[in-house]
């Protein structure tokens, strides 16, 4: 008899009555929920949606700044003569182009921040 009852108890444990509703608990939960909601709103309002035009523009400027000296070099002398034309003027152009690229990226990064 005890064995059968135990087995029945295993499969059908006595249910616990629900705890009476506590409005204080609800209030405390909602305080935390509202805070979480506000935090989520701040995160979603970060300027992520308007970053892309700036970033794309900065990347384009960087690419042009880097490619222009090389393109001019190639169109003037051809690829075969590129190495021989790699002189001081070209280096200066490349440095200036790199500085423009870095500046453009830095400005866009500040915009992101």
């Amino acid at each position: 008899m005890d064995r059968d009852r135990l087995l029945d108890l295993i499969d059908h444990p006595a249910p616990d009555p629900d705890t009476p509703r506590n409005p204080v608990l609800t209030h405390q939960v909602m305080e935390r929920v509202r805070h979480a909601h506000a935090q989520a709103q701040v995160t979603t309002q970060a300027p992520s949606s308007d970053v892309r035009p700036w970033l794309m523009g900065a990347l384009l400027i960087a690419l042009i700044a880097l490619v222009t000296p090389i393109t001019g070099l190639v169109s003037d002398g051809g690829l075969g003569e590129a190495a021989s034309l790699f002189d001081g003027d070209l280096i200066v152009e490349l440095v200036i182009g790199s500085l423009i690229a870095v500046t453009a990226l830095a400005l866009s990064w500040r915009r992101l921040a």
Binding site: D4, I10, T19, L25, T26, V33, R34
Partner: protein
């Protein structure tokens, strides 16, 4: 909102014809424990409102389900910690509400979240108090056990409660979800992200383990209980 994840070790029951009674009360036998279609529908409506941005609608869900969550947690962690964990449960649920699958009852989802918190809480408490290996000593001082002892109406119930206390936190939680809260195997398998068969196998093992602790032996093939 931050998604939350959690997978408890899943246990499953394997009902076989001519064996023990079906696991958990049938809806007809214990309708009070079964959520009405109206409640489930109301939950879906309120969840949809929360997802649409009506934060205050979440308070309705809290009011509707806090009683069950708190009583479930009381059994797992004791009265002192149950309300704190109930709060944590609802906050976690809010943060993960976009991942709620409306195919399944909202209450079941809440109970799983609560259970995971309870299992972690109990594990940490045991480690903190007496170390991981002294489960018997911990069980004696376990507030949840004291609650169960106080509420037990007879010796058999107390024996069962003691056996339950000796289960690992994950096993205990799964027993409560499956047998006392009556979450279906399909529902539990979904929440724990395992197959329903895997869940059923583990619940079967859990029943065997529990029966063994009570001095009973279940014959796995026949599914009948014989005295060990």
């Amino acid at each position: 909102m931050m998604p939350s994840s959690g997978r408890l070790a899943a246990l499953g029951s394997v009902p076989r014809p001519g064996t023990l009674a079906p696991h958990g009360p049938t809806p007809a036998a214990d309708g009070a424990r079964v959520m009405s279609g109206g409640t489930a529908d109301a939950d879906r409506v309120d969840v949809a409102r929360v997802l649409a941005g009506e934060v205050e609608a979440f308070a309705i869900l809290v009011d509707r389900h806090q009683g069950r969550i708190t009583s479930h947690l009381t059994r797992l962690v004791g009265r002192n910690d149950a309300e704190d964990l109930t709060q944590d449960t609802f906050v976690r649920a809010y943060q993960a509400i976009e991942r709620f699958d409306p195919t399944y009852p909202f209450r079941g989802w809440l109970l799983v979240i609560a259970s995971r918190l309870a299992a972690n809480h109990v594990a940490k408490r045991r480690e903190r108090l007496l170390g991981a290996h002294d489960d018997h000593a911990v069980a004696k001082d376990d507030p949840a056990r004291q609650v169960a002892e106080a509420d037990a109406v007879d010796d058999l119930q107390r024996r069962l409660d003691r056996a339950l206390d000796q289960l690992s936190p994950d096993s205990r939680v799964l027993y409560e979800l499956r047998f006392r809260q009556n979450l279906s195997p399909a529902e539990l398998a979904n929440h724990f992200d395992i197959s329903e068969n895997a869940l059923k196998v583990r619940v079967h093992r859990l029943r065997l383990q529990l029966a063994a602790r009570l001095g009973l032996t279940l014959d796995g093939d026949a599914g009948e209980a014989v005295k060990g």
